[in-house]
């Protein structure tokens, strides 16, 4: 697979192109490789869903593409946005992009607004930072219009954050992220902290935003229902890597990666009669399993899986998948397709 952005084919309507992004945190035990060689593109006006278990690196990836990581995090790779690489960009330039070009919608809306500042002050501060040429009245108009589009009436403009419910605060946060009409927005589990009715509202708002402003959204969630409802394409993440990426309907209808299949089988719905779960736990990101990271939990694991990391291949359904079940066959060593004998390996390791 290509790692240099120049060689990779990029569609002309691509807004953001992530290439071989690696993010790791230094800890006392060693480096936590939260994101380990992730590549994907997001097109204009598209919602790309990013799904995976807790701790698989979803949120780190979402913050990483915006350059919003804590100082302790190290980043390598490329995040190409409108011809510029956000990795290694100066703080100043990055800051000027956040707001007018790049937005972030958070998981917990209750704590994301400064309790001592009125809602109006949050908006005026943001607008003044990025568009100082606007008059105060223009800024006010713009903020109130954006809030209105999210269903917050103008009479509440000067209220304090604690005077709003969780759902309203999330709509305020979305308005705040969108007031400058950014081209790309990361929505990090925007509905996790809200009840289902509010969740539906928020998802409708995000769909409207995408339609009206052609905004590209990276929607991070662990809820497959939300992906099915709100996303064109989906990326399934496992242990810091993307296991499978493709058209959301195609992936759900015919999952190419065993992990995706197991994840879909674990979904609880009204017709669920017994609970399905994936045995084992998500791997330790400090010392991840060799080869394919999913092999210790994979029902279809072959002897090649712990030996070599599977390259990304594109299936006939146009899904990008990293799994030896889909080849390339010429890279599998002789006998590599035999089922993996776990017990034997366990004993051998202990011996």
């Amino acid at each position: 697979m290509t790692t240099t952005p120049e060689l990779h084919h990029v569609r002309p309507d691509t807004v953001m192109s992530v290439r071989d992004l690696r993010i790791w945190y230094g800890t006392a035990r060693g480096a936590v490789r939260a994101v380990d060689g992730v590549s994907f593109d997001i097109r204009r006006g598209e919602t790309l869903g990013l799904v995976g278990e807790s701790g698989c690196g979803k949120s780190t990836l979402g913050r990483g593409v915006l350059g919003l990581l804590p100082d302790a995090a190290k980043v390598a790779g490329h995040v190409l946005f409108e011809g510029e690489d956000l990795v290694g960009m100066s703080r100043r330039r990055l800051r000027s992009l956040r707001g007018p070009q790049l937005g972030l919608i958070f998981q917990e809306p209750m704590t994301r607004l400064n309790p001592l500042m009125r809602v109006s002050q949050h908006f005026l501060e943001t607008l003044r930072t990025h568009q100082p040429e606007l008059s105060k009245e223009q800024m006010r108009r713009r903020a109130i219009d954006t809030l209105g589009a999210m269903g917050i009436p103008p009479t509440r403009f000067t209220n304090y954050p604690h005077e709003f419910s969780g759902g309203m605060r999330q709509r305020i946060m979305i308005a705040l992220a969108l007031v400058l009409n950014p081209a790309f927005v990361v929505a990090d589990e925007p509905t996790t902290a809200l009840d289902v009715l509010v969740e539906a509202q928020i998802l409708t708002i995000l769909a409207d935003v995408k339609r009206n402003f052609d905004t590209s959204i990276l929607l991070i969630t662990h809820n497959l229902g939300i992906i099915a409802e709100a996303c064109e394409r989906v990326a399934v993440m496992y242990a810091g890597r993307i296991a499978e990426l493709g058209d959301a309907r195609a992936v759900f209808a015919r999952p190419a990666h065993p992990y995706t299949r197991e994840l879909l089988a674990s979904t609880i719905s009204l017709s669920t009669t017994s609970l399905h779960y994936i045995p084992g736990a998500p791997p330790d990101l400090i010392a991840p399993p060799s080869g394919c990271r999913f092999h210790p939990r994979c029902p279809d694991a072959m002897t090649v899986c712990p030996q070599r990391h599977p390259p990304v291949v594109t299936t006939e359904l146009n899904q990008d998948v990293a799994c030896w079940l889909h080849g390339p066959d010429d890279q599998i060593p002789p006998g590599g397709s035999a089922p993996l004998e776990r017990e034997a390996i366990g004993v051998a390791d202990e011996a």
């Binding site: 915006l66 000027s96 400064n114 501060e125 990025h130 992220a177």
Partner: protein, 345 residues
């Protein structure tokens, strides 16, 4: 919504009503302390060799021959009418001492508070932002040292450096003698700084300010250590809050994130502590005034204590207590104004 307009007045009324039991308890404690303290104020004021008749007469005039309950009633009655008592060792009333010496102490305390706030908040936010750097270590050390070092020792070091060695500043007193005489003649408020401004005496104002620097700084340093540590911890805590990351995600400049979001929010608990520091300021003032020969109420308190002038000591302590209560009231109101959430809880 209507909620926000209705709650602040209600909060203020509740807070004001709480002052009544607070003051009552304070005054009772002061009263009891003065009665259980050993020694007889009348004997003390008359030198211990007066004839019994004179002692009895004095005792009667001061009301010490009444029952303890009646004395308690008189004490409260007097305070209610603004009469805190008259000195047994001189002819001055407590009110008069508070008006004159108290004005000097107020000047010193305000100057000290300004020094403490500027240094404490400035250093605190700086080392909170740059935590665990050499700057942080230095700032924390500075905070501990200034808080731990005795006031009189710091005062004497300052006098050695700025007065004896550098000859930059006057060593002691509230003003030069001539200025002193002039300003006492111009007594509008008894606060020299204000009087100098009212009478347009700019040379006098300058002289008073120059005299204020060393005592103000000495007392201010004592208080600023607390602020440094508190502001630092609060800034570090606030910088971890979700809304800080949210502000950064909107591209708000870092200096604005630190000052507008983190620092301002970190100040809420600091405002409360400013109130508590008023007490430290008053006790520190007693030492500072002695070191710099500052004609304030702290020095007066020591003088009257030495004279066993119980009425005066009781009066001054009462005034101190009332000051602390008033400051804490003001602080609570200010906190409610800064933080909208306080009004509801």
């Amino acid at each position: 919504m209507a909620r926000s307009s209705g709650s602040l007045p209600r909060y203020l009324v509740t807070r004001l009503l709480l002052v009544i039991p607070m003051v009552w308890i304070l005054l009772t404690v002061v009263f009891i302390l003065m009665r259980v303290a050993p020694g007889d104020p009348v004997q003390a004021s008359l030198g211990g060799r007066a004839p019994q008749a004179v002692i009895e007469k004095q005792r009667h005039e001061l009301g010490f021959d009444k029952s303890i309950v009646a004395q308690y009633g008189d004490y409260f009655n007097g305070i209610f009418h603004g009469d805190f008592g008259t000195s047994t060792s001189s002819n001055r009333t407590v009110t008069d001492v508070v008006a004159h010496e108290g004005a000097a102490t107020l000047e010193l305390a305000v100057a000290a508070m300004i020094f403490a706030l500027v240094l404490g908040l400035g250093i605190g936010v700086l080392i909170g932002r740059y935590r665990d750097t050499p700057l942080d270590v230095f700032g924390r050390l500075f905070g501990v040292l200034t808080y731990a070092a005795p006031v009189f020792w710091i005062g004497i070091l300052f006098q050695l450096l700025f007065v004896a060695k550098l000859h930059w500043l006057p060593s002691s007193g509230q003003a030069d003698t001539l200025v002193n005489i002039h300003l006492q003649g111009e007594a509008h408020t008894n606060i020299y700084l204000v009087d100098a401004v009212i009478s347009g005496d700019w040379g006098g104002l300058r002289n008073v300010l120059v005299h204020l620097i060393l005592p103000g700084l000495t007392l201010g340093l004592l208080v600023c250590g607390v602020f440094i540590r508190l502001v630092r911890v609060n800034v570090i805590q606030t910088l971890k809050h979700d809304y800080i990351e949210a502000a950064r995600a909107r591209g708000i400049p870092e200096h604005r994130v630190v000052l507008r979001h983190a620092f301002r929010n970190a100040l809420v608990p600091v405002v409360t502590v400013i109130g508590l520091q008023a007490a430290l300021l008053l006790s520190g003032a007693v030492l500072t005034e002695t070191t710099f020969n500052w004609p304030g109420i702290g020095q007066a308190l020591i003088r009257y204590l030495n004279n066993r002038d119980y009425v005066m000591v009781q009066g001054i302590v009462t005034v101190f207590a009332l000051i602390v209560v008033s400051v804490s009231l003001v602080i609570d109101v200010v906190t409610a104004l800064i933080d909208p959430r306080v009004r509801y809880s």
